[in-house]
Structures are given as C-alpha cells and as structure tokens.
Subunit: 138 residues, 2 copies
C-alpha cells in the first residue's frame, strides 16, 4: 500500500464512491460530482478512478453488464447480482483459503486476488415470482 497523492479531483471522486451504496459506474459518478457542484472532465474522472484502483483505495468491478462499477469497501468481499432486477449485494463470507491453496497447487500460480461474481435471484424477486402463482395475486 503505497502513499497516495491526493488531489482535489481524486478526493472528490473518492468521496462519491465511498458515500455510494450502489456500486456506481463512472457515468453515475460523474453525475454525482455534477450534483455536488464539481465539473471535472471525463478523462479526469477516469484517470482518478484508475489511479485510486491501482493504489488499492477502491476496487473496480466488472460485473458482466456494460460499464465498470466501483466500490470503496476495503474488507475482502465478493458480489452477487440478481438476474431479474440487477441488484448487487455484497458477500462477506470469505472464499475458503483451502480452495485457493488447491488452485495454487494445481496451476502453479501464486494467487494475488480472487474476484467472485455470483448470479442468482434475490429474495424480493423470488417473492414476486411466488406471489404471481398464488390465487390472491391479482
């Protein structure tokens, strides 16, 4: 973890990501910067995001659809995406270290990062599906 060279732009970008709860994309971040009265260039926001991600302060997530999303949580965690409504939830159960060890042994790699993206159906969407099948549904 190297020393971070903070600039006003990087700090503002970081504040937006940190205060967000919804894993915003770059363009969502730009909108929120505008809402807060900042008007940085696209390039600056992307540069800041890249810089902060490389510095390890934020994480870039490619969750499978369109734009990258950004996350400022620093505990190790994974993500699960609802395939119906798109909600993204955090998963704090750590991936078993033994599994990772086995992978290292089998592949010869030294693992530096594990990114897991689970897909599934969230409780709310399952609820709707159930309700749609009951007589009192409509």
């Amino acid at each position: 973890m190297q020393k971070i060279h903070w600039t006003p732009q990087r700090r503002a970008v970081y504040e937006v990501v940190k205060s967000a709860h919804d894993h915003p994309t770059a363009s969502m971040i730009i909108d929120r910067l505008h809402a807060r009265g900042h008007r940085f260039a696209y390039a600056t926001v992307y540069n800041s995001l890249r810089y902060l991600a490389e510095a390890g302060v934020i994480r870039e997530l490619r969750l499978g659809e369109g734009a990258s999303r950004y996350d400022a949580r620093n505990e190790e965690h994974q993500h699960i995406v609802c395939e119906r409504c798109g909600t993204i939830e955090e998963v704090f159960e750590p991936v078993p270290a033994a599994w990772q060890k086995t992978v290292e042994a089998n592949t010869g790699f030294v693992v530096t990062e594990t990114q897991v993206v689970l897909h599934g159906v969230c409780p709310a969407c399952r609820g709707e599906a159930l309700r749609a099948h009951t007589p009192e549904a409509h």
Copy 2:
C-alpha cells in the same frame, strides 16, 4: 437446455470458439472466421455469440480487460489470469458447495451461477522474476 436453432453462421462461430484454446474475443473470432473463408457481419457474429451464450453452449467471460472472451468448455470451471503476461488458464477445482450454501443462507439469494476470476502470477513469469535476481541472469 433448450433446443438450439443452428444456422451456418452460428455453427461456424461455434466451431471457432470450440477449436480455440485461448478464450478468444469477438474480434479474434471474426479474424479466424475470415481466415476460414467466412465473412460474416460483425452484428451476425455478436448475435451468434449472444445466442449461443444464452443457449448455454458457450460461456461469455468478462475477465477484467477490454472485450468479452468466449469459452466453449462445458464442464464447470473457473479462470485464472496472469497479471504479468495475461495468460488465461482454466481452473477445474470446483468452488466448495458449502461456501455457496452459506452465501445463499446469508443473502437469501438462490445462486444460479458462480464466476470466479483469480489473478496471480503464472509459473513462467515467476520463473523469470527469479532468474532476474540470480547472478548468472545476464
């Protein structure tokens, strides 16, 4: 697993993906189709890839850099990417079912798919790093 409506284009795209060993991107696939004498429109290749992925015949991988990659292996497996040279290797050790169960219990989701992307350093790159530190290196 529904019935697949094969067209010459879809078959040709599938053949390319299946015979590739390197998880090609859409544009690599287009190049290889050209090399085989086919000249399908971009849109057709993308349509075919999407169709085949939705049909479950191939898998779309978003491994973190640029374009999606495609994989025709049908056994459950994961991927590990070397952060030095970019090589992608397959990981056949299955993610522990118990972990997935715990995630379902904790999040309330029903999990339908688990995609793991590990990053690390491959044996070859580690070898080079070692060699660079020994006296007889140059």
